[in-house]
């Protein structure tokens, strides 16, 4: 893929890569639909997907009411977190960045935990409080670190780390003072839980995610230059501050929305962009769509494992992403580490 004579990224390259990844995504969705406690054969699913054959009432209910919304939400969450990761890595010029690095996850967690502890429902109250927590955190971090309209990356990171530490203390306080079944809910939320997926969540978040993705994609060329240094990008004509403001706010908004539905799912936003960068190179015009779709594939696969591996019980999906992600990431670092550590 790399190293051909004319290596520039063309629209054709982007479209072909996108179609291949979408094909993989569809295959993963179909396989995931067939897996679960109730046996539905992959062959039936495939026949149904190309318009041949139907299911009995019960199988249809399982597929349509339980598995499909969960798979689609996992896809959207993975899409958004991975998109957030690739954009934050570019904006902060930091390979360790991921969408939670500015503290948004801990803010969202505090909101969600308050919702759980005070007995709000999982369908409206908890996501709403979590989203408010996320939004509050982002505005706080950006508010503290903006100076004369400028967002300085090192200050943002530092503020994020400190705000994160503060909210983690709040989270620990609630965990220490909660003892009943709510504790189990809290812990599941903190490691990501997609079992509450509903179609309504998809229709709320999908338009927003598509809009933000479109805007971010328009900035992909700008991000390439920002990676080489903000001053250099400015001098070559990139409106650096505009790109930063729009991207930080846009990514934070969709991250806040998806984690209010799913809880905190780590590693997706870190590992998928790095994997794609290795396969396809660092140009964001290709990397952004590839990471986003790749993130959807990865999280659907991880969530399928989470709900089937100790069936009929379930694991929090964040356990699976970290359990698979960490060793894989270490392997990648060993293989290609020099490219990250070079300065």
């Amino acid at each position: 893929m790399r190293g051909s004579e004319d290596q520039r990224i063309t629209p054709v390259k982007v479209i072909i890569t996108g179609l291949i990844l979408l094909g993989i995504l569809i295959i993963i969705i179909l396989i995931s639909l067939s897996l679960g406690p109730a046996k539905i054969s992959l062959r039936d699913i495939l026949a149904w997907s190309i318009g041949h054959g139907t299911f009995d009432q019960q199988a249809w209910m399982i597929i349509y009411k339980i598995r499909l919304p969960r798979i689609l939400l996992a896809g959207l969450v993975g899409f958004s977190l991975s998109l957030g990761g690739v954009v934050f890595q570019a904006l902060l010029r930091n390979p360790l960045a991921e969408p939670f690095i500015l503290g948004i996850s801990s803010g969202a967690a505090v909101g969600a935990i308050i919702g759980i502890v005070f007995g709000f429902g999982f369908h409206l109250g908890v996501p709403l409080l979590s989203f408010m927590g996320a939004l509050f955190t982002v505005l706080l971090v950006i508010g503290i670190s903006s100076r004369q309209g400028g967002l300085e990356s090192a200050t943002l990171l530092l503020t994020g780390v400190i705000v994160n530490a503060f909210f983690t203390a709040v989270i620990m306080f609630f965990i220490a003072t909660t003892s009943d079944s709510r504790l189990h809910s809290i812990l599941f939320w903190l490691y990501g839980d997609l079992s509450q997926s509903k179609y309504i969540q998809l229709s709320v978040s999908l338009p927003l995610i598509l809009a933000v993705s479109g805007i971010i994609y328009f900035f992909s060329r700008h991000l390439n230059l920002i990676v080489g240094g903000e001053d250099a990008a400015l001098q070559i004509g990139v409106e650096v501050e505009l790109v930063k403001w729009v991207s930080f706010l846009g990514i934070s908004l969709i991250t806040g929305v998806v984690i209010s539905f799913s809880g905190i799912i780590g590693f997706v936003g870190l590992i998928v962009p790095h994997l794609m960068r290795m396969l396809l190179g660092p140009d964001h015009r290709l990397l952004i769509p590839a990471s986003a779709i790749g993130g959807a594939c990865f999280l659907i696969a991880a969530d399928t494992l989470a709900r089937t591996i100790i069936s009929p019980s379930e694991l929090p999906v964040g356990v699976v992403t970290a359990f698979l992600g960490a060793p894989f990431f270490i392997y990648l670092l060993k293989q290609r580490g020099s490219q990250w550590t070079q300065s």
């Binding site: 520039r8 390979p95 230059l225 660092p282």
Partner: protein
């Protein structure tokens, strides 16, 4: 012929302290202007002002006889390119990709480069002898190679003014000369005008048509190297004893820095 760039009474301050106070000079077509001065004398700030990155509160800058403030960011980028002292691409972009990024200010809403852009990038790489590096990762290059690639990117911007901020400070002597040779030949063949900040005073004196000595945010002296580089001016501005004689080959001023302790070495 009208100068490419004219500065009249340019002032600038970051906080309260003025760091540029009343800068006047012009840049002629095809000229290499060496910008020298002690650390903190305002050299880098001056480059950022010329590039329109910093806005001046007082004074006037004319780019091809039009006020710089009337240009948009992208318009400036098509005329003036900057080669930074050092750059660090966090992720492994190939040399070709980096050079092609120079087309940024020329692309419209459609975010992909076309055949013509590739042609311009290749031409720039030919001129800077970087074609062989095309597939390499920018992060794997040596300091000298990287500077040549960044000059290629500046050419790809098709700018007619190139600003270089200490492009040779991390290079060994051979690569320093290579960069100066390259810049010199580009001004001749491509009609570029160049402002180069350098601490290699004797070397810059061999290549620059004129030199500008900055001191505490003001122009201490501007003129041909022989006028600017004298023991008197340099030792006054840099507050450091120096000896200036003539380079026996190029006949340009040659600077020797003198030890403050007088002559001779002593072992502790």
């Amino acid at each position: 012929m009208d100068p490419e760039l004219i500065l009249r009474g340019v002032f600038f301050r970051y906080e309260r302290q003025w760091c540029l106070r009343g800068i006047d000079f012009d840049l002629r077509k095809g000229e290499i202007l060496g910008l020298i001065g002690p650390n903190g004398s305002g050299k880098s700030t001056l480059l950022k002002i010329i590039d329109g990155v910093l806005k001046i509160p007082k004074g006037e800058i004319l780019l091809r006889n039009k006020p710089l403030s009337t240009y948009k960011r992208g318009d400036i980028a098509r005329q003036i390119a900057m080669v930074p002292q050092e750059s660090n691409f966090r992720f492994p972009f190939s040399v070709f990709e980096v050079v092609l990024m120079g087309r940024f200010p020329h692309l419209g809403l459609f975010p992909f480069e076309g055949k013509e852009d590739v042609k311009i990038a290749r031409q720039s790489m030919r001129l800077t002898h970087t074609l062989d590096l095309a597939k390499r990762s920018i992060n794997e290059l040596s300091g000298g190679e990287k500077q040549r690639v960044l000059i290629a990117r500046a050419l790809t911007q098709t700018a007619h003014i190139i600003l270089l901020d200490e492009p040779t400070s991390f290079l060994d002597i051979r690569h320093k000369v290579e960069i100066f040779d390259l810049i010199s030949s580009l001004t001749l063949t491509q009609g570029l005008s160049v402002i180069i900040v350098s601490h290699d005073i004797s070397l810059a004196a061999q290549y620059c048509h004129r030199m500008l000595l900055l001191d505490k945010g003001g122009v201490y002296k501007i003129g041909e190297p022989t006028e600017v580089i004298t023991a008197d001016t340099i030792s006054t501005v840099y507050k450091c004893p120096v000896l200036v004689d003539k380079n026996p080959i190029s006949k340009t001023p040659r600077l020797t820095v003198l030890s403050r302790r007088g002559e001779g070495k002593t072992l502790a």
